[in-house]
Symmetry: C2
């Protein structure tokens, strides 16, 4: 059920040496692993928490700053990075103040399953689950949501062992040949 020896896929993650300062932070920008690519965008300490607050409706710099209790410079850097990655975008106004707001793009809202997965992992495995303050519920019924489930094309519930990785079929030059 599991190939213990060499796998062909993904043989050798290399860090992208940028110019000459290759002691950077091992960027995963050019990596072929989609997990690594996600982490490149939202794999740092604060990004997912900022996104989480944004999903809950926060929009203003000061809201994030006071809610998350983080330093303003860090927040500014994270917001800029999230905007650069197309996860947030700045909207010029909303409440009259000529300041700007940070709102989630579709890509940003698309992180919701990631946050749910993180939440459910805590709920399932945390050593002190009693310290978890909130529950994600179905808004309509007020009942806890089900666990995320992975299904096959035909609807069968899949565990990790029932899945495997395949190479993408066609590197596809450019149109059909």
């Amino acid at each position: 059920m599991m190939q213990p020896h060499k796998r062909v896929i993904d043989a050798g993650i290399r860090q992208t040496q940028r110019d000459e300062t290759m002691v950077k932070r091992t960027s995963f920008e050019g990596d072929s692993c989609p997990v690594a690519r996600s982490l490149e965008a939202i794999g740092d300490w604060w990004s997912l928490l900022i996104i989480r607050e944004a999903l809950l409706g926060l929009r203003r710099f000061g809201e994030f700053q006071s809610k998350l209790g983080m330093a303003k410079n860090i927040l500014a850097a994270r917001l800029r990075s999230l905007v650069d990655h197309g996860i947030l975008e700045t909207a010029p106004a909303s409440d009259g103040s000529a300041y700007q707001e940070y709102v989630l793009t579709p890509k940003g809202r698309g992180t919701f399953p990631i946050l749910v997965a993180l939440r459910q992992w805590s709920e399932a495995f945390d050593d002190r689950p009693e310290e978890i303050a909130t529950i994600l519920v179905d808004r309509e019924k007020g009942r806890p949501v089900k666990k995320l489930e992975l299904r096959a094309e035909d609807g069968r519930l899949l565990t990790q062992a029932e899945t495997t990785l395949k190479l993408r079929p066609a590197p596809r030059r450019r149109s059909a040949g």
Copy 2:
């Protein structure tokens, strides 16, 4: 040169002061948000990639090291942290070599949905999806898996907007003890 005046670190910000070196990395250990609690354990650059490789069957220090291309000291630190968090555990042997292996615990295998969510987010929103090399497929049929879906207790498919957070009902002072 000009020594700046005494730094008053105890400014009253929220951060979890551990012992006395409170300029650490803003640990989320005591946070009540389950997302933050997850990130505390696996929210750094390497942990999820190590877990990913472990899910694919890697067990040995050298396997991780050559596969991920990371420095050995970083790997050692991450492995230790993952063991401390109950995500990996060390098994004394397997192939005769008197060395140890790192195998996933149930808690570690429980991260699978997180990795799937990260993967699917990349697949859906990455700017250069053609660089993604692998596809997660149903092992039996060889067909791509469906997107993770969040459902209500009664099976209704839920979007983020159809969910909300509720406070945990009972803080429960250790009942019946």
